[in-house]
Amino acid sequence: MKIKKLDLSEENVEFLVKISDLSGETVTLCEQCGTCSGSCPMVSEMDITPSQMVRMVQLGESEVMDTKAMWLCASCFTCTVRCPRGLDLSKIAEALRQITLRKAVDYIDIRDLSKDEMKRLPQIALISAMRKFTG
């Protein structure tokens, strides 16, 4: 078998390093076993799977920012406890969200909620959503 060395552009390395720093995770440890994707309760709603998300980060592909997966992560830590390489994907998803949120771009606007939803939702839901989806 011939092993091909991957050469990442400077820009791609920069993105990989940025996400690694923000998440505190050694993203390159992932060996693409797919356990996270098989465990994720949200995977059926996502456009790319959690393991694809990590793969794109490994390759420094900033196009991952255009996907929805990170915004559908519910920080449930199921992948975290199951990853055989000890990676915490919830932190990687958080890092990706932070890239957008730190530019003062919000993912949700609470004011879009219907009157009925606004009455029903408990504080715990509003506060957690504002924390995860607004910068």
Binding site: K91, I124, S128
Partner: protein, 303 residues
């Protein structure tokens, strides 16, 4: 035994029934839950970005209040901080772990909060289930006057009691702590693999459909496994599994609604406490028809 208690915001409003039932059953077990003075919202979710310290300030500030309670004599050398809400539990405990593992983070946070005493790192964050486990479920059994016989309950853990492993109160793949509780209360426990599947958490705000789909799976599996009701310990899980049954019913008209209890409501019933402590009016799916049908309420054993 007086123990510092952190309520969390939702327990003062939409989940007030969780608090009233918990305080009442804890008292029966000889635990006086003393509310933390001047507590603040913990933030509900633990911030996961490595460089983000500001979002841990809220959690650490609450831990400092435990020191103050000891200094003021409100509790006697008691550094365990008890929570009922699973999300508060997780957020406070993860922050506590980070502070103990990263003294330089703690130093920065202490410095930012220069008006407060420094956090000394002595607090131990506990969920009420853990505290009761330490006390012994035999003590729970001793208090049971009205065993929940014939009531088939599916324990639901969700995420925040179990994961990540450093803060979980039980085996993340095979949790048993609620099962032991249900056994002590005389209920029939219905295990099913969906007991540790996420309810969708805060996604309920941005896309309720995603959450009602998940809730449908979780509730249908419990029902198919033979459960009459669900038992849990998180106001957000409760909202997603209980209140979102309205959305489930819209999508699946044949769906059979299923009551969702806080585990402390079940304890209160089994301890023979007045229904007033259970606050069933705050449950979306009224559990009273089920409880009457099983002979658990409506008899003469209530106080």
């Amino acid at each position: 035994m007086k123990v510092p208690y952190y309520p969390g915001c939702t327990l003062k409003t939409k989940a007030a029934n969780f608090e009233t039932s918990a305080l009442a059953v804890a008292e029966r077990l000889g635990i006086e839950l003393v509310e933390l003075p001047r507590w603040n919202c913990c933030g509900t979710v633990y911030s996961l970005a490595d460089d983000d310290l500001i979002h841990h300030v809220a959690a650490v500030r609450n831990l400092i209040r435990v020191q103050e309670m000891n200094a003021q004599g409100l509790v006697d050398d008691e550094y365990r901080l008890v929570t009922l809400c699973s999300m508060c539990f997780n957020t406070l405990k993860q922050a506590n772990v980070r502070m103990s593992e990263n003294p330089e983070d703690l130093e920065k946070i202490n410095d930012l909060m220069y008006l407060e005493d420094d956090y000394e790192g002595r607090v131990e964050v506990k969920h009420l289930l853990e505290l009761v486990d330490e006390l012994g479920f035999d003590k729970v059994e001793e208090q049971v006057k009205n065993p929940l016989e014939g009531l088939r309950i599916a324990p639901y853990y969700g995420c925040m009691l179990l994961r990540p492993t450093e803060v979980g109160i039980d085996d993340p793949e095979d949790p048993q702590i609620q099962t032991r509780m249900l056994e002590a209360l005389g209920a029939e426990k219905i295990e099913n693999p969906y007991r540790k599947v996420c309810c969708g958490s805060y996604q309920t705000v941005q896309d309720k459909k995603v959450v009602s789909n998940l809730a449908y799976d979780i509730l249908t599996h419990a029902r198919n496994a033979g459960a009459d009701a669900i038992s849990l310990s998180c106001p957000l899980c409760a909202f997603n599994l209980d209140s979102r049954q309205r959305e489930i019913k819209e999508d699946h008209p044949s769906f059979r609604e299923i009551p969702v209890f806080y585990f402390t409501q079940l304890m209160a019933m089994a301890f023979g406490l007045s229904e007033d402590y259970c606050g069933f009016d705050l449950n979306y799916i009224d559990p009273e028809p089920l409880l009457s049908a099983k002979g658990i309420i409506g008899g003469s054993n209530g106080e």
